[in-house]
């Protein structure tokens, strides 16, 4: 797909060192994200979707090993099998929001303080200055003898910083942003906390935002609101968004392009319209057919048979062949190469090009 690629992942293969030896979790995954577009990554457990997200922002656990390929950001290599170079991009170039906002926010600091810290990080990146968490905001530090102080204290900031914090909270559509500045995370609802996380990510003015299961812990009505907020971020701020989810329907709501992953491989990659209206890979077809919708439908839906194989010991050949309704001889013997059919990348022998004579 043409355009202005902010981030690209090329042929990335990653393995974890475990007691049972090397376990490959990503196998030759390639994708790119453009400014202002949302790329949805869908997969079930063991698909490698979270490892993909972590690799893009350089948060891979120590036992992860890049076997092949890499990640480039604005044309610059930030992750290869030899080195990783994230210090310059994390916090300003690429930001991430996670599934459970309560785990990602510091419970003993007020919201305003934490957003001020994010703003300070960004400014220090921009002017290269050393920084301290208390540069932009102060509140009585918890853990001191006067820990009750923090219960009664308020966030103290300069008027400019306060205005920026309030603007950010307004941008993520929090009601009463002035009041929320002085709230602790536990005083907010799940949806509000996730909005605060997004506000902190926005404070860093990232080019790329990674949202890993960012709405999974939220109620459906709240999820709908956060999704529409994510859609607006891409449109209004031209942020490139990598939306990782196990939920095909969430991705269908907001993504421009979709990558479907199964056991570490990207099995289908196309525009959202193509994937949802005319899916090619039998796995995508099966997934789409196994989700009840609120539309009129008669009779019983047909599930994908069998269970997900152990990712540390994937089936030979095509990894989906053990559950595929269209399996034939070649599938168990030979791993299919990615082919392009009508602009859709698909990894399946059904669509393999005829060998040229």
């Amino acid at each position: 797909m043409p355009g202005d690629q902010v981030l690209s992942v090329k042929n990335l293969s990653i393995a974890y060192t475990t007691q049972r030896g090397l376990v490959r979790v990503l196998q030759g995954v390639s994708l790119g994200i453009e400014k202002g577009r949302i790329l949805g990554v869908v997969g079930e457990s063991g698909s490698g979707k979270s490892t993909l997200g972590l690799s893009v922002i350089g948060l891979l656990p120590p036992n992860a090993k890049v076997l092949d390929g890499g990640v480039t950001f604005h044309g610059r290599e930030i992750l290869t099998s030899q080195e990783s170079n994230f210090e310059s991009v994390r916090g300003t170039g690429i930001a991430m929001i996670f599934q459970e906002p309560l785990n990602s926010l510091n419970p003993v600091y007020r919201v305003g303080f934490q957003i001020a810290e994010a703003i300070r990080v960004r400014d220090s990146r921009e002017d290269g200055s050393e920084w301290d968490v208390h540069d932009y905001a102060k509140e009585t530090r918890p853990g001191k003898a006067s820990s009750f102080g923090s219960v009664f204290s308020r966030v103290k900031v300069t008027p400019e910083i306060r205005k920026e914090i309030v603007d950010l909270l307004t941008a993520v559509r929090i009601l009463d942003p002035e009041g929320v500045v002085n709230k602790f995370p536990h005083e907010l609802s799940g949806g509000m906390r996730q909005r605060v996380m997004i506000a902190m990510a926005l404070a860093e003015r990232p080019d790329v935002l990674i949202a890993d299961e960012a709405t999974t812990a939220l109620d459906v009505t709240t999820q709908a609101k956060v999704l529409s907020l994510i859609r607006d971020l891409a449109r209004d701020y031209r942020t490139a968004i990598l939306l990782i989810s196990h939920d095909l329907s969430v991705v269908s709501e907001v993504a421009d392009d979709v990558v479907v992953m199964y056991l570490g491989e990207a099995v289908e990659h196309s525009t959202s319209g193509a994937v949802f209206k005319s899916p090619l890979h039998p796995y995508t077809v099966g997934l789409l057919g196994s989700i009840p919708t609120s539309y009129v439908q008669e009779g019983e839906l047909q599930p994908i048979q069998g269970s997900i194989p152990d990712p540390s010991n994937p089936p030979s050949g095509c990894r989906f062949h053990t559950r595929c309704p269209k399996v034939f001889d070649r599938c168990s013997a030979e791993s299919p190469e990615p082919t392009t059919v009508n602009g859709t990348m698909v990894r399946c022998h059904l669509y393999a090009e005829k060998p040229s004579l």
């Binding site: 609802s189 999820q223 609101k225 319209g273 989700i291 009840p292 919708t293 269970s307």
Partner: protein, 324 residues
């Protein structure tokens, strides 16, 4: 409930109320807050049918399931099951009276004892140990799609979907007539969820089971249920047949839930017409009024749960004007 067809009520709850006292502040010395988890809920469950309880977290749907089985004792109200009011029983009498009731939980990783083999887990839920026990266990395993040799294995040797099948089999071992299914597929992978949903549908046909199916997903409720009860803030706000609730929605909250279900590219994107997502509970009048786009002064008064025809119940002052 006035119905044309003759239907046998297996369980009926009426006026169920449960209030939790929560405390805030350091060491719980702060203000005490009353959290009304259930506020006068009345529902009945017909034999061989599924009633879905739909709502978001905090709506009281799980508390309703627990109170119906007397796993949590309600503060007031009654639970009629096979000639007894469970709420008036305790101890052995209660255990005897609710033998035909079972529950399947959301998380199959925490609901099976990791130190017991499947065989022992099943034996626990059997009240009498008859001679052909192993045979019966094998039969039940087969009916949930698991091989008989599962009996000699431990829970950790199975995947999430398989464990949920075992949890269902354990419930079936007790020969239940009524089962509470509390988000039984929410922690499973997408490709496994439908397998389990279809299993419940098959089992219901085979054993004429009555289900209370608790879910946050209206689309799943529609797929599974004959009747749907939508709960908000401890109350039923809409109740009717699945078709009435989904296609003839009359409560603004049901409409908000419906429009939040992603449509998989089959229609317009989410248009959610709610005002705020305040975390503060509303304690008087219509509980939904602070989020409702149609709220007026009148909504400061509590609306009754009114029958708008055919047993379709709606708790809204403006139900006659609503169409979505």
């Amino acid at each position: 409930m006035p119905r044309n067809q003759v239907s046998e009520t297996v369980v009926s709850v009426s006026g169920l109320t449960k209030v939790y006292l929560t405390s805030t502040g350091v060491l719980g010395l702060g203000r005490r807050r009353r959290l009304v988890a259930l506020d006068g809920v009345s529902l009945s469950f017909q034999k061989g049918k599924t009633t879905a309880i739909v709502g978001e977290s905090g709506s009281g749907k799980t508390t309703l399931g627990e109170c119906t089985l007397m796993l949590t004792r309600p503060d007031s109200g009654s639970i009629q099951y096979s000639g007894n009011d469970l709420a008036r029983l305790s101890g052995k009498g209660l255990n005897l009276a609710r033998r035909g009731m079972q529950i399947v939980f959301q998380d199959p990783y925490s609901s099976l004892n990791p130190r017991m083999k499947v065989d022992a887990i099943f034996r626990e839920s059997m009240s009498d140990s008859s001679g052909e026990l192993r045979d019966r266990m094998s039969d039940v395993l087969r009916s949930v799609g698991m091989p008989p040799d599962s009996l000699d294995r431990f829970p950790h040797q199975f995947s999430g979907g398989q464990r949920q099948r075992l949890a269902i089999a354990r419930a079936l071992m007790a020969n239940p007539t009524f089962m509470v299914l509390d988000e039984p597929t929410s922690s499973l992978d997408v490709s496994i969820q439908l397998q389990i949903l279809n299993l419940f549908r098959d089992l219901q046909r085979e054993y004429d089971l009555t289900f209370m199916f608790i879910t946050h997903n209206l689309a799943v409720a529609k797929y599974m249920a004959h009747h749907i009860a939508v709960m908000f803030s401890g109350r039923v706000v809409e109740y009717g047949t699945a078709a009435e609730v989904i296609e003839g929605t009359k409560h603004p909250y049901t409409a908000a839930l419906l429009s939040s279900v992603p449509s998989m590219g089959k229609s317009e994107s989410i248009v959610l017409n709610e005002k705020s997502d305040s975390a503060l509970p509303v304690l008087s009048g219509c509980r939904y009024r602070t989020r409702c786009p149609y709220a007026t002064e009148k909504c400061l008064d509590e609306p009754p749960l009114a029958d708008i025809g055919n047993g379709h119940l709606v708790r809204c002052h403006y139900s006659d004007k609503m169409s979505f």
